[in-house]
C-alpha cells in the first residue's frame, strides 16, 4: 500500500515520450512494438527500427504466447514431488529410478518428500493389504491438490500373482492415474509411467480425477461451507483436481 502510493506520487517516465501512470500501465495491453522497443534502447537496437511485416515476423519468432493454464500445467508436470512411500518389492525398484542409471532427476522428479503434505505424486509401490488400505487412503487424502497417483506393479493394480483374501487393488479405494504393469516393473517401466503422467498433465490439465472416474457429485460436503456459497463452494471444499472444467 505504502509503496504503490509513493509510486503514483512520482510517475516513472517512459521512453516512449509520454508519461505513463502506474494505473494505466496495469490495464492497457502493450503492443508488440512497445514490448520490443524499450524506451532507453530506441535507436540503438536494430529491432527497434523494424516496421510492418518485418516487425510482425520478428515478434512471432521471439515472443511465445500461451494461456496461464498451459503454463501452470507445464510447470507442474515437470516438477512432480513424489511421496517417499514404499510398500514392498516395487519400492526397491522405485528407489532405483532415483539412482544413477535411470536418473529421474533428468526430468525434475527427484525431490521425494517424506511428508504427504509436501508431495503431489503418490507412487503405490507394492502390494496393498487390507490392513494397509485405510492408511494409504489417508496418505492420499493428506496430499494437497492437485495430486496424482501411480499404481506400480501388478499387486496394487490387480492383486497380481497372489489374488487372495489379503490384498486389495488400489482402484477399489483411491483414484489412480497411471497403472504400470510388471512384477516388479523395471525402473525404465516406471519412468515410462511417470512420463505418461507428465503428458497427461500437460495435454489435458482439465481432466481431474473426478471427471475421469465419473465422481462429480461425490464431493465431501464440509458442514457449513456449502450452505452459503452453493455448489461452487462445495466443489472447492471437496477438493477438485487441476481445474474446474464444468464452469461451476
Amino acid at each position: 500500500m505504502k509503496r504503490s502510493a509513493g509510486r503514483s506520487a512520482q510517475p516513472p517516465s517512459s521512453g516512449l515520450g509520454t508519461t505513463i501512470d502506474v494505473e494505466t500501465l496495469r490495464v492497457r495491453e502493450l503492443s508488440p512494438r512497445q514490448l520490443l522497443r524499450g524506451g532507453e534502447l530506441e535507436g540503438r537496437t536494430p529491432a527497434a527500427q523494424l516496421e510492418g511485416a518485418d516487425l510482425e515476423r520478428h515478434v512471432q519468432e521471439r515472443v511465445m504466447t500461451t494461456t496461464l493454464d498451459k503454463a501452470v500445467a507445464w510447470a507442474r508436470s515437470n516438477s512432480f514431488f513424489p511421496a517417499t512411500f514404499g510398500l514392498a518389492c516395487c519400492a526397491i525398484e522405485m528407489m532405483s529410478i532415483v539412482a544413477a542409471r535411470v536418473d529421474v532427476a533428468r526430468f525434475g522428479y527427484e525431490a521425494f518428500r517424506a511428508s504427504p503434505r509436501q508431495a503431489d505424486l503418490l507412487i503405490l509401490s507394492g502390494r496393498v493389504s487390507i490392513k494397509m488400505a485405510p492408511i494409504v487412503r489417508r496418505i492420499y487424502d493428506q496430499m494437497l491438490e492437485p495430486k496424482w497417483a501411480i499404481s506400480m506393479g501388478a499387486c496394487c493394480s490387480s492383486m497380481g500373482v497372489f489374488n487372495n483374501y489379503a490384498l486389495v487393488p488400489a482402484d477399489k479405494f483411491m483414484p489412480v492415474d497411471v497403472h504400470v504393469p510388471g512384477c516388479p516393473p523395471r525402473p525404465e517401466a516406471l519412468m515410462h509411467g511417470v512420463l505418461k503422467l507428465r503428458k497427461m498433465v500437460q495435454d489435458d490439465p482439465d481432466m481431474g480425477w473426478r471427471d475421469r472416474y465419473g465422481a462429480r457429485g461425490t464431493e465431501e460436503v464440509v458442514p457449513g461451507a456449502g450452505a452459503r456459497h452453493g455448489a461452487a463452494a462445495v466443489d472447492r471444499a471437496g477438493g477438485d483436481s487441476i481445474g474446474d472444467s464444468d464452469g461451476a
Binding site: A88, C89, I92, E93, S129, M132, V161, N164, A166, L167
Partner: protein, 418 residues
C-alpha cells in the same frame, strides 16, 4: 468386532503421566510426561511399513511396541492352493531382497521330501546366484542405512553396483527380481555364453568398490558416533531371542549355516565368517561389509570350479523334459503334460530346510499329505525373529540411536508379514 480389532483399538496413543523414579531425578518433583510417539507405518526410516509405538521419556526411548502385518499378503495360504512347482513364484516374493534364498529354502525342502539328487553343476550355479543375491541385499541395506545416518552419497554408489548384479541376474535368469530361476531339482537354465566373463569382471571390481565404501564410512566421524556403542546386546540375550545372521555374528557367535550345516555344496568352498566383538551397531555394519568380500570369494570359487554336467535333475517325474524332446518322444510329452497340469506328488511327510539368508536363518517347513499341493508351507523368516530383539536393543538409548539400530537390524517387512 474381532478380537484383533479390539486389541488394536485398545492401544492408547495419548501421552501418559507416569511416576518415574523418586523425586530426586528431576526438578519437576519426579513426575515426567511420557510421550507416546506413533512411528510408521508410513515413515522413510522404517524400511517398509513397520509401525512402532515408541514411548519416550524426554529423548530416551522408554518402550517400543512393534506392530506388524501391514503387508500381510497371505503367501503361506496361497502356497497351499498351488502345486509344488507353482509355489516358487509366490514364495520368492516373501523376503523381496533375498528372492533366491526363499526359492532355495522351498526347493531344498521339496527336494528333501522327494529325495531328488541335485546335479553338482546346478548346486554350483545356485551358489553363484545366492552369493550375488547376498551382495545385492547387503548393498541395498548399506545404501538405505547410510541414507538414514545422513550419508546420502552411499546410496548412489550402492545402487550403481546393485544394477551390475541385476544385469548379471537378467543375463542368466531373464529377470531382475523374482527370477524363478531355482527349480525343484536344479535351476531353470544353464548360464549363457559370456556370463562367466561378465561375472569375472564384476568379481574383480567389487572388492575395490567395497574398499571405497569402507574408506568412505569407516573413518567417518558422524557414522562412527552414531554406530559405536549403540544398540548393544550380548550373545546370551540374542540367542535367547532366537536372533541369527549378522546380528548374532556381530556379537561374537560365529553361527553361520553355510559352515554349521552346509547344504548345497557349501563345504566345497573356502571362506571365512566375519565375527564382531561387542555386538553394537558398528559391529553389525562391519560384519555385513566383510561378508560381501567373502561372498565375492565364494562366487569366484564356484565360477572357477563349475563342474560339467546337467543343470537340472534328469528325473522326468520332477523336472520338465527339454523342449526338443517333446517333438520326438511320446514319454517326454506325457511327462510334460503331467507336470504342467498336475505336478508331482511327494510322499507324505514334513521337512524343515534352513539356509543362511542375508538376514539369518531362513527356513522353509513343508508338510506333504501325498497330494500334488503342499498341505502347509511355513517360512521361518529371520527378519520376523530378529525384530523381537529390537525393543531390547533400542530401549534406554536415544531416539536417534533407535533409527540407527533399526537400520542395522535390516528388517524386510515382506518377510515379516508374508
Amino acid at each position: 468386532m474381532s478380537e484383533y480389532r479390539r486389541r488394536e483399538q485398545s492401544i492408547t496413543l495419548s501421552p501418559v503421566e507416569e511416576q518415574v523414579g523418586s523425586g530426586a531425578d528431576g526438578p519437576g518433583g519426579g513426575t515426567h510426561e511420557l510421550l507416546t510417539l506413533n512411528f510408521g507405518p508410513h515413515h522413510p526410516a522404517t524400511h517398509g511399513v513397520l509401525r512402532l509405538l515408541v514411548t519416550l521419556q524426554g529423548e530416551t526411548v522408554h518402550d517400543i511396541k512393534p506392530i506388524v502385518g501391514y503387508v500381510h499378503t497371505g503367501i503361506e495360504k496361497t502356497a497351499e492352493d498351488k502345486s509344488y512347482w507353482k509355489v516358487i513364484p509366490v514364495i520368492e516374493r516373501m523376503d523381496y531382497l533375498a528372492y533366491h534364498f526363499n526359492a532355495m529354502a522351498f526347493c531344498g525342502a521339496v527336494e528333501t521330501l522327494l529325495e531328488v539328487e541335485v546335479p553338482r553343476r546346478a548346486q554350483y550355479l545356485r551358489v553363484i546366484q545366492l552369493e550375488l543375491n547376498r551382495i545385492m541385499s547387503h548393498l541395498v541395506w548399506l545404501g538405505t542405512s547410510a541414507l538414514d545416518l545422513g550419508a546420502i552419497s552411499m546410496f548412489w554408489y550402492c545402487f550403481r553396483e546393485r544394477e551390475k548384479i541385476l544385469d548379471l541376474f537378467e543375463m542368466s535368469t531373464g529377470a531382475r527380481m523374482h527370477t524363478r530361476y531355482f527349480q525343484v531339482g536344479g535351476v531353470a537354465e544353464d548360464i549363457p555364453p559370456g556370463f562367466a566373463e561378465k561375472l569375472r569382471g564384476f568379481l574383480k571390481e567389487m572388492p575395490e568398490r567395497l574398499d571405497q565404501y569402507g574408506a568412505l564410512l569407516n573413518r567417518n566421524e558422524i557414522v562412527l558416533q552414531r554406530l559405536r556403542g549403540t544398540g548393544m546386546l550380548d550373545v546370551q540375550t540374542l540367542l535367547a531371542l532366537g536372533v541369527t545372521g549378522p546380528l548374532l555374528r556381530a556379537a561374537g557367535n560365529a553361527w553361520d549355516l553355510r559352515k554349521a550345516d552346509p547344504r548345497g555344496s557349501y563345504d566345497d568352498f573356502d571362506f571365512k565368517i566375519p565375527v564382531g566383538t561387542v555386538g553394537d551397531n558398528y559391529d553389525r555394519f562391519a560384519c555385513r561389509l566383510r561378508e560381501m568380500y567373502e561372498s565375492v570369494k565364494i562366487a569366484g570359487q564356484a565360477l572357477e570350479g563349475l563342474p560339467e554336467g546337467p543343470h537340472i535333475t534328469a528325473d522326468r517325474k520332477v523336472a520338465l523334459p527339454p523342449r526338443h524332446e517333446l517333438a520326438t518322444s511320446m514319454e517326454a510329452l506325457i511327462h510334460h503334460f503331467k507336470l504342467v497340469t498336475e505336478g508331482f506328488r511327494p510322499p507324505p511327510g514334513e521337512v524343515y530346510f534352513p539356509v543362511e539368508s542375508p538376514r539369518g536363518e531362513l527356513g522353509c517347513f513343508v508338510v506333504s499329505d501325498g497330494s500334488s499341493k503342499p498341505a502347509r508351507v511355513h517360512m521361518r523368516d529371520p527378519s520376523f525373529v530378529n525384530l523381537q530383539a529390537f525393543s531390547q536393543m533400542a530401549e534406554g538409548g536415544y531416539i536417534a540411536d533407535l533409527i540407527a539400530t533399526l537400520a542395522m537390524l535390516d528388517p524386510i517387512l515382506g518377510g515379516i508379514d508374508r
